[in-house]
């Protein structure tokens, strides 16, 4: 199935997360049925990173998913699709090619910086580079936008769009653009899901580095506990805010993507009928609940601005998340794929 056909009526498919939602939305609009959880799981998008050296908003980078761009590349590799993926140095060139594509009826996905997107609420226009939007048309100087995080169509002017595409800093978009050119009509889901799950399991259970996978969750828990001594309440609140933001606010589908991954495991079960996948999916929902609970505890400390605070509880809650999540991956590891 080669897709050169135009997409005339771009349907909004709202997603929990911008990049997975964006990829699923653009591909589905081309007639290839791909759900957001499937896009997320099949590209091994779930992860846990804790990088004290990379700073975002004056705090260490905590990520519940792979770096921007990984999902597009993962989907293309595992599902036998072909995307055109480009970065640009030259702004004019980038905008010219965008115009040509959009005018020819080809919706295009872009990585952008949040703080220049005029349709966001001013309170939330923070400096965050890893957002994905779909441009599906043009009206004079305005671009028609389907933002996967929004439930309605929006618009953006040319000037802010250029700025958003070429913002700098951590995860700078550098004009990142993608659109599908080829969609395979028969996909071997079994081998794709197998590869995706295996790669996720080996990353999350890796024993070497303390800033990747389950070990990283424990590192964060330790870091929270350590703050109990000496750190002033403001610092504590900032760090907890940071965790909550990355876990819930930046579009994770809730529970730091864990619910979304559970949905993927369920869909995988529907296709392959391997009982362990369903079991793992149910366990993963439980893990998501644990993350939600921990976020509520964080919120309590952020809200009450109290002098006496117990960080041990939160640290233990995150350890509990790590433990429960590890169980899921151990179960997935044992699956006999034959």
């Amino acid at each position: 199935m080669n897709i050169i056909q135009k997409v005339t009526d771009y349907r909004i498919i709202q997603g929990g997360h911008c990049e997975t939602g964006g990829v699923a939305s653009i591909v589905t609009n081309h007639g290839f049925d791909l759900s957001e959880p499937m896009a997320f799981g099949i590209s091994s998008g779930i992860t846990f990173f804790y990088m004290p050296l990379v700073r975002i908003w004056n705090n260490p980078l905590i990520s519940f998913r792979m770096a921007p761009g990984a999902i597009v590349r993962g989907v293309q590799k595992r599902l036998g699709m072909q995307f055109v993926i480009k970065r640009y140095k030259d702004k004019e060139q980038a905008m010219k090619e965008l115009d040509e594509l959009v005018d020819s009826g080809q919706p295009v996905g872009l990585q952008v910086c949040l703080s220049y997107l005029t349709y966001f609420h001013p309170d939330f226009r923070v400096y965050f580079n890893a957002h994905t939007i779909i441009i599906y048309g043009r009206d004079g100087d305005e671009y028609l936008v389907s933002d996967p995080a929004f439930d309605k169509y929006t618009r953006i002017n040319r000037e802010p769009l250029i700025k958003a595409r070429f913002a700098k800093g951590v995860n700078a978009p550098r004009g990142f653009m993608f659109y599908p050119v080829y969609l395979s009509s028969d996909v071997d889901y079994k081998s794709a899901i197998k590869k995706a799950v295996k790669s996720t399991v080996s990353m999350m259970l890796q024993p070497m580095l303390n800033f990747v996978g389950i070990r990283a969750i424990n590192t964060v828990a330790r870091r929270i506990e350590k703050m109990h001594k000496g750190a002033d309440i403001k610092q504590v609140r900032n760090f907890l805010t940071h965790i909550v933001l990355f876990q819930e606010e930046i579009g994770t589908g809730g529970g730091g993507f864990r619910y979304m991954y559970a949905a993927f495991l369920q869909e995988a079960f529907d296709r392959l009928k391997i009982p362990s996948l369903l079991e793992a999916s149910k366990m993963m929902v439980g893990v998501g609940d644990l993350y939600r609970k921990a976020a509520v505890s964080c919120a309590k400390i952020i809200r009450e601005k109290q002098k006496v605070y117990d960080l041990k509880i939160i640290a233990d809650q995150y350890r509990e998340c790590a433990r429960a999540e590890k169980e899921v991956y151990l179960l997935l590891k044992k699956i006999d794929w034959r």
């Binding site: 709202q14 959880p37 900032n238 809730g254 952020i302």
Partner: protein, 135 residues
């Protein structure tokens, strides 16, 4: 999380929209559910904004006491931090820090100030007259 447990607190920080949460429905299927907002998220977003405002206020005080330059104030006021500002400007962090010294700031030419102003999306005169406005 069950479908009926998806928070519906009526306010989303990102703008006029709902957000998707994945939750388990009565048949055990995990489905996307629109959430109108969650207070925990709102709280975190507001705390982030407050933190930057606080830093900006502290920087303002330092400018008043001649310990810093308006660039530090505007940096926090517009939600940036040092690494990001430096990268946006195409300068090293050391250099930007230098520009935050009052005596160095006084000598900056209009070109560099213009670059800062363009980044903050304000007028150059606003940066220049910031200190006068404080007195």
């Amino acid at each position: 999380m069950k479908v009926n447990e998806v928070p519906q607190d009526g306010r989303q920080a990102i703008g006029d929209t709902t957000m998707i949460n994945y939750a388990v429905n009565e048949n055990g299927k995990i489905v996307p559910v629109q959430s109108s907002g969650w207070d925990v998220q709102i709280l975190a977003v507001h705390n982030l904004a407050d933190t930057y405002e606080e830093w900006a206020a502290e920087a303002k005080e330092r400018v008043r006491n001649n310990q810093s330059s308006p660039i530090e104030y505007f940096m926090y006021h517009y939600g940036l931090d040092l690494p990001t500002l430096a990268q946006q400007m195409g300068l090293s962090q050391r250099k930007v820090k230098k520009h935050m010294k009052p005596e160095v700031f006084e000598k900056l030419d209009d070109e560099i100030l213009g670059q800062y102003a363009g980044l903050f999306q304000i007028d150059v005169s606003e940066i220049k007259n910031f200190k006068k406005g404080l007195a």
